[in-house]
């Protein structure tokens, strides 16, 4: 991969840092009146999801990371690996480890399209769509007539996620949920 110097750093660029692929989030140039210039850089470690703040001397460079983000449809799990398929018509499949799946495991539904991050052609992260429709598999019986605001109760969804829902929701209903906040949005 090519090397990128600090003055080529911009949001979205993928670089290698401490052996991990990272995405640059922000790059700020700081320079004392008459001295060495630095770049304050915020990066997301794509392996762990953690945000790092690092400073570089201006002009230093980092190796680019061979990272791709692709749309893939979730197929099935065999218990060890989770299998996804490209949506570009190639039918190419990728097996994803539990570690790479991370928190997305509670938002999995067959035939839904996820964003899979590949590093050197290995899946390292899976992100769900912002909104997903899932069936309620378990919750206390709905309260008739309670359609206004008021209390909420936990409901378990078909993917395993537990979300707070209004009291009127019943088992078997399909709900629209925001995967970023884990909050109920509406009935689907």
């Amino acid at each position: 991969m090519a090397n990128y110097s600090t003055n080529e750093f911009k949001g979205g660029l993928k670089v290698m840092l401490d052996g991990d692929p990272c995405a640059i989030l922000e790059n700020d140039y700081v320079k004392p009146g008459k001295g060495q210039a630095f770049n304050r850089v915020k990066l997301r470690n794509l392996m762990t999801g953690r945000v790092w703040e690092r400073t570089f001397k201006s002009g230093e460079s980092l190796e680019g990371a061979d990272v791709l983000e692709l749309d893939m449809e979730y197929l099935y799990t065999d218990g060890d690996m989770w299998h996804f398929m490209k949506t570009d018509g190639s039918f190419e499949q990728y097996a994803v480890e539990k570690k790479a799946l991370g928190d997305t495991d509670k938002w999995l539904k067959e035939q839904v399209v996820y964003t899979v991050t590949l590093w050197n052609d290995n899946a390292i992260a899976v992100n769900p769509p912002n909104f997903i429709e899932l069936e309620v598999t378990e919750t206390d019986p709905g309260l008739k007539g309670d359609t206004a605001q008021g209390g909420s109760k936990p409901a378990t969804l078909s993917s395993g996620a537990v979300v707070r829902v209004p009291l009127f929701i019943n088992q078997g209903e399909v709900l629209k949920v925001d995967t970023r906040t884990g909050e109920y949005v509406s009935r689907a």
């Binding site: 140039y29 700081v30 009146g33 630095f38 400073t55």
Partner: protein
């Protein structure tokens, strides 16, 4: 795709900018400091290791040659001083390669002025008066802060005495980067940039003085009254965490100046940076004799940004470089 042709500043902002420029010119007219214009392109560039000059080739009366875009109007203005100009100011377009960010633009307006016969304290007071004239409301009192004092206060260390190893460790920890090979000045630059500057000028105007002698650039040096350590006769002015101005008790000794240019180019070679042609005409002017005095360079775009409460310099420039 639509081409982004619109200015990076609002038209109303640019009108305000025009008003402030007129205010700056009136300030100097009242004080008998006259306005000059000097070339943007010159045969010599800035050797400063931390400034990257742009250059171009052009046909001149002596054929095709390399010319440097000025990083500041300093050298030409000093030659005017040596020729007997007296107090002068300039609003000069200046160029610095690689300086990109909220407070930086590849080209910018430098307000630079020189006061032959005036000591650094007098120039500091004049700089303060100019800033107060441009800012719309009282920024609060001026505080004079010694470089060493700031390090003691914010980092509990003496920047002149702290062992290099400990400085490197602290700089590495603060910045999250390797500083094992860093020089003392690089460590201090990092620490002042990240740990001190953001706090300066928050409830007034902070003027930092008595910089390390190694950071003198084109300023004279004097002895620190505290313990006789050499320090640079320079000041920097901060407001809202932003560095606004850099003032010098100007070096007038041609020999000393030549030595510093050569040291700069040696440091450039060591760092693998291109050497810059030394401005022989400046050295000749200093040899002929430049009157002692002080001079200051102020980032006019930053001052206007503060005066108009904008988030970055691009918002007070008609067309910042990405849209130029």
């Amino acid at each position: 795709m639509t081409v982004d042709w619109r200015p990076t500043a609002e038209i109303a902002t640019l009108r305000e900018r025009a008003r402030l420029l007129a205010e700056v010119r009136a300030f100097f007219a009242e004080r008998g400091v006259w306005e000059v214009e000097t070339p943007v392109l010159g045969h010599g560039g800035s050797t400063d290791v931390h400034l990257a000059s742009l250059s171009c080739e052009a046909v001149t009366p002596s054929g095709r040659e390399r010319l440097w875009l000025q990083t500041s109007p300093e050298f030409h203005m000093k030659r005017l001083l040596a020729a007997g100009a007296g107090p002068i100011f300039q609003i000069a377009r200046s160029f610095r390669d690689g300086e990109v960010g909220g407070r930086h633009n590849l080209e910018f307006s430098m307000l630079e002025w020189y006061r032959p016969g005036l000591e650094l304290d007098g120039l500091m007071a004049e700089t303060e008066a100019l800033i107060r004239r441009v800012l719309p409301s009282d920024p609060g009192p001026l505080r004079r802060r010694r470089y060493r004092e700031l390090f003691r206060e914010h980092l509990a260390l003496d920047p002149f005495r702290e062992p290099l190893g400990a400085l490197r460790r602290l700089a590495a920890e603060t910045g999250g980067l390797g500083m094992a090979e860093a020089t003392r000045d690089d460590c201090l630059d990092l620490l002042i940039s990240l740990s001190i500057e953001p706090h300066l000028g928050r409830d007034g105007i902070d003027v930092v003085v008595d910089y390390p002698a190694s950071q003198a650039a084109l300023a004279r040096r004097h002895r620190d009254p505290e313990d006789g350590e050499w320090v640079a006769s320079r000041f920097e002015v901060y407001r809202d965490g932003i560095e606004l101005a850099n003032g010098y008790d100007e070096l007038t000794d041609a020999e000393e100046q030549r030595t510093r240019f050569e040291e700069d180019n040696a440091a450039r070679r060591a760092a693998g940076l291109p050497e810059v042609d030394v401005d022989e005409r400046l050295l000749a002017a200093l040899e002929a004799g430049m009157p002692a005095g002080s001079g200051v360079a102020l980032g006019l775009d930053r001052l206007i940004q503060l005066a108009l409460a904008k988030a970055g310099v691009a918002e007070v420039m008609a067309f910042a470089t990405p849209r130029a």
